[in-house]
């Protein structure tokens, strides 16, 4: 039976309670009658033979690119860059798409007699990956062949000797890239396009860039004019990256882009209820929900986090495209839409969502309050095409414990950002004046380069990520969050969903229309 498309349920008196993620746990909440619940499409069929599909894509590139094997020759400098630990979510079961693709690329390189090959994790300003994470993404064969010889590197955006300035765009944007990537004869970039925002020129122009380059599009102005990030044609973030990408190509950097897509089979069999519609839950699903939610509620947060971050998603490759960046990305976006688009009629006064334990920036880490805001307002709010799910001046209700907890090794600058900057203001435009100080702080730079810390400026980017939502919404309410922490973020705390809806009614008027985004699995609401 073919997978069912996404679905918009209208809640009535017979509708069972709806699942809400709540950090390291989940709850069943009863939504008011007449509310809408947006469910993601069911996972589409994966490729039956992904290895053959990758080989076919490399031999039949899109756009004006030649097949990869004809671009490889002895004596050339080949750099293979790949997406970092932030993709996919949750991490996929082995073999990861990156391993499947890069092994094929290396096979061709070996056949062609290419000796000078370097692999680079395209971190941008993210934290360095651990050995376990690299092994998971690339597989043991690649790791053991390259890492011991220093040929498996992680992009260092703070190493001046490893950066090269390629010029400025017609909008005055600096383009500064990894020297190794820019000076290679061929740069192969291997993507996992989990959402429509990923890939395209953004891969190289962001993943291998420096702070000097990134600041041109990671700022409050750009984010406010990206409506949304999931719609490349209405996203200033993408416009800026496309200008940079074209300048990179014009500078002589030859990029061979390989993009892969996944189905949204995000959770394994024992957690399948998380992606099923509640009224279709079997006795086994209900037993799994009752047992796991009760166990997680009684488990210390640290242990619950460890259990949940140990989940490997069974999502599998649904397509692979290779060749010229823009031609590849157009096809890839079509595949992402085929999996994730859900048609929704009109906006509502209130949008509700349950936020899970994971976001792109806390894989194997703690979801700190700033990342909670970023996941809700930056990511989930922007899971739309056309218009946001909630009207302008509407209310966003998020369910998450929002604890004041930080991973000091991964997010050191977040702690200071929370204590010093958010205590002053929560206005994304206003925080800009402190950005430079955090970005150039030598201690943060040291931790970023030598430890596993996100760059000092990263919490600012997370807050900019919320700019469009903050601009659009009348209020943000967090259900079940620590009140003091929620208030520090500039949001309103509520004990229960009913309380949150009452608070929302104060803002948008009585009897508001409500839409619930039943994610994850991820989807893009195509709001008409």
């Amino acid at each position: 039976m073919s997978p069912r498309p996404g679905y918009v349920l209208e809640v009535d008196r017979s509708t069972p309670p709806t699942l809400f993620w709540h950090g390291e746990g989940y709850r069943l909440e009863r939504l008011p009658q007449g509310s809408r619940v947006v469910y993601a499409p069911e996972p589409i069929e994966p490729l039956a033979d992904p290895v053959a599909a990758v080989r076919h894509a490399l031999d039949h590139p899109l756009g004006d690119s030649q097949p990869l094997r004809s671009l490889l020759r002895p004596g050339m400098r080949l750099t293979i860059a790949f997406d970092d630990v932030s993709l996919p979510l949750p991490p996929m079961r082995r073999p990861d798409n990156r391993q499947l693709v890069i092994e094929q690329v290396l096979d061709l390189a070996a056949e062609a007699g290419v000796d000078d090959v370097v692999l680079i994790a395209a971190l941008a300003l993210h934290r360095r990956m651990t050995e376990a994470e690299l092994r998971h993404a690339l597989g043991d064969r690649i790791y053991d062949a390259f890492a011991p010889h220093g040929l498996l590197r992680q992009h260092d955006a703070e190493d001046p000797s490893e950066l090269v300035h390629l010029g400025t765009t017609d909008q005055g944007e600096d383009v500064e890239l990894s020297r190794r990537a820019a000076e290679s004869d061929l740069l192969v970039y291997v993507n996992i396009n989990l959402v429509a925002m990923d890939g395209g020129h953004k891969s190289v122009a962001t993943g291998l860039a420096s702070y000097r380059s990134l600041r041109h599009h990671h700022n409050a102005h750009t984010m406010r004019h990206s409506r949304s990030f999931m719609d490349q044609h209405r996203s200033e973030l993408h416009s800026s990256n496309w200008r940079m990408g074209r300048l990179i190509a014009a500078s002589g950097v030859r990029v061979f882009q390989i993009e892969t897509t996944l189905n949204n089979d995000a959770f394994p069999e024992q957690f399948r209820f998380l992606q099923r519609r509640e009224w279709e839950w079997s006795a086994r699903d209900r037993a799994a929900f009752v047992a796991s939610s009760a166990a997680l509620a009684r488990t210390p947060a640290r242990l619950a986090r460890s259990v949940l971050h140990g989940i490997a998603g069974p999502h599998r490759m649904t397509s692979v495209q290779a060749g010229e960046v823009e031609a590849v990305h157009a096809v890839t976006t079509g595949h992402v839409h085929a999996q994730q688009l859900v048609e929704v009629d009109g906006q509502s006064d209130v949008l509700t969502m349950g936020l899970p334990y994971i976001s792109p920036y806390n894989v194997n880490s703690i979801m700190n309050p700033i990342l909670v805001a970023c996941l809700g307002l930056g990511y989930f709010f922007n899971l739309y095409r056309g218009r946001p799910l909630v009207r302008e001046g509407g209310v966003l209700i998020m369910s998450h414990p929002t604890r004041k907890a930080f991973h000091p090794g991964h997010h050191p600058s977040y702690i200071d950002f929370y204590e010093e900057i958010l205590a002053e203001t929560t206005d994304p435009a206003e925080i800009h004046k402190w950005e430079e100080a955090f970005a150039t702080d030598p201690w943060y730079v040291h931790l970023y380069r030598t430890g596993h810390a996100y760059h000092g400026v990263h919490p600012f980017y997370m807050w900019y990520w919320c700019a469009h939502a903050l601009d659009h919404l009348g209020a943000v309410v967090v259900v079940g969050g620590e009140p003091s922490t929620v208030r520090r973020l500039g949001f309103r705390p509520a004990s229960t969903l009913a309380d949150a809806l009452e608070i929302a009614a104060d803002v948008v008027g009585p009897s508001p229309s409500v839409t619930h985004l039943h994610a994850p699995p991820l989807m893009i609401a195509d709001v008409r």
Binding site: V11, T15, E278, V290
Partner: protein, 350 residues
């Protein structure tokens, strides 16, 4: 009746004392506990402990085995079954209802004048509404009336479907979506000479205030052109409210409105809007009097008044409790009719 109430010492303001008081309260407590346990034991476990309910707005992928709106009720309209039902209704149901609800009927002559088949529509606050309404209908209509009942509630189990079809002449009606099958069946029965009793709110009001009407409820009348008689029931909410498990005696008022005739080419939506106004006017009449209700209707505030204040649940309940005439039948002596005796223009259907 509890042991405490059977005790002769408890009458005339005397209170039991000492050991007797202790034993009376202990017996009462045990009874309550037993009832509560029985209720718990027989009530289906809520989701997620029990199976989830199916949203009415979602089509079931696999047709159920002859239940819901697919249940065939033709057997319940065969002559022997109708005869048995008439005997039960006239000899058991009606006396029980009159004992329990003491219905005061206003506008009974409109029912007497009605030419069957008719579509009778009423507000809905209690499971008692159906037997009450059947018991006040004239015999010639009562014994040839089918009752539209929620397919997902009364026809979701085979034993329930048999019981309600046989006892009340119920037919299944989808209340959460427009179902061609159930509307077609209701229309065919009206065309065949059966009167139809329907609660267009689609379910019992959770708090006693009128709810929005379902358009589907007007379809049989709009299609057949038969008159619609609006009826307002007040007081049944006190006897057996939604979610309640204990039945209490209370007085009820049944206000019958003038029949509405579908106009040529009038669609169900328009008829439904007229019907909503008519029901709201009857609700106002049951709270006040005919003249005051007419004035409110002329002012155009009736429908909103009938739906209650747009406020929190307790305030809605509070506002509802402020209309004692509607629930107790004890009408305000300062009403527009001067002498304050509602029985001057109302009759009891005993």
């Amino acid at each position: 009746m509890t042991a405490a109430r059977r005790d002769p010492d408890l009458g005339a303001g005397r209170q039991p004392t000492g050991r007797r008081a202790w034993s009376a309260s202990a017996v009462t407590g045990v009874g309550r506990l037993a009832r509560a346990r029985l209720r718990r034991a027989t009530r289906p476990a809520p989701f997620p402990w029990g199976a989830p309910t199916w949203p009415g707005t979602v089509a079931r992928p696999v047709p159920s085995s002859g239940l819901g709106d697919e249940y065939d009720t033709a057997w319940a309209r065969r002559y022997p079954v109708r005869l048995a039902r008439a005997m039960v209704t006239d000899n058991l149901t009606r006396p029980a209802v009159h004992l329990l609800a003491s219905p005061l009927v206003r506008g009974a002559e409109l029912l007497d004048m009605a030419e069957a088949p008719v579509v009778i529509v009423a507000n809905h606050t209690s499971h008692l509404d159906t037997p009450l309404l059947l018991s006040v209908l004239p015999d010639r209509i009562r014994h040839r009336t089918v009752v539209a009942a929620a397919a997902d509630h009364f026809f979701d189990r085979r034993w329930k479907a048999h019981l309600w079809a046989g006892l009340l002449g119920a037919i299944p009606l989808e209340r959460n979506r427009v179902s061609r099958r159930s509307v077609d069946e209701a229309t065919a029965l009206v065309e065949d000479g059966w009167s139809l009793l329907i609660f267009p709110e689609g379910g019992r009001s959770p708090d006693g205030w009128q709810q929005e009407l379902h358009r589907a409820a007007s379809l049989p009348a709009a299609r057949t052109g038969r008159p619609v008689i609006p009826v307002h029931l007040a007081g049944t909410h006190r006897i057996l409210p939604k979610g309640g498990t204990r039945v209490r005696r209370a007085r009820t008022t049944v206000v019958v409105g003038a029949p509405l005739y579908p106009e040529d080419g009038e669609d169900a939506r328009h008829l439904s809007a007229r019907l909503e106004t008519a029901l709201a006017t009857l609700a106002a009449e049951s709270r006040t009097d005919w003249w005051t209700a007419r004035r409110q209707a002329a002012a155009g505030t009736t429908v909103q008044d009938a739906r209650g204040p747009d406020a929190s649940p307790w305030r809605r309940a509070w506002a509802l409790g402020g209309t004692p005439a509607a629930w107790t039948g004890e009408h305000d002596s300062s009403s527009a009719h001067g002498d304050g005796d509602p029985r001057r223009w109302a009759v009891r259907r005993d």
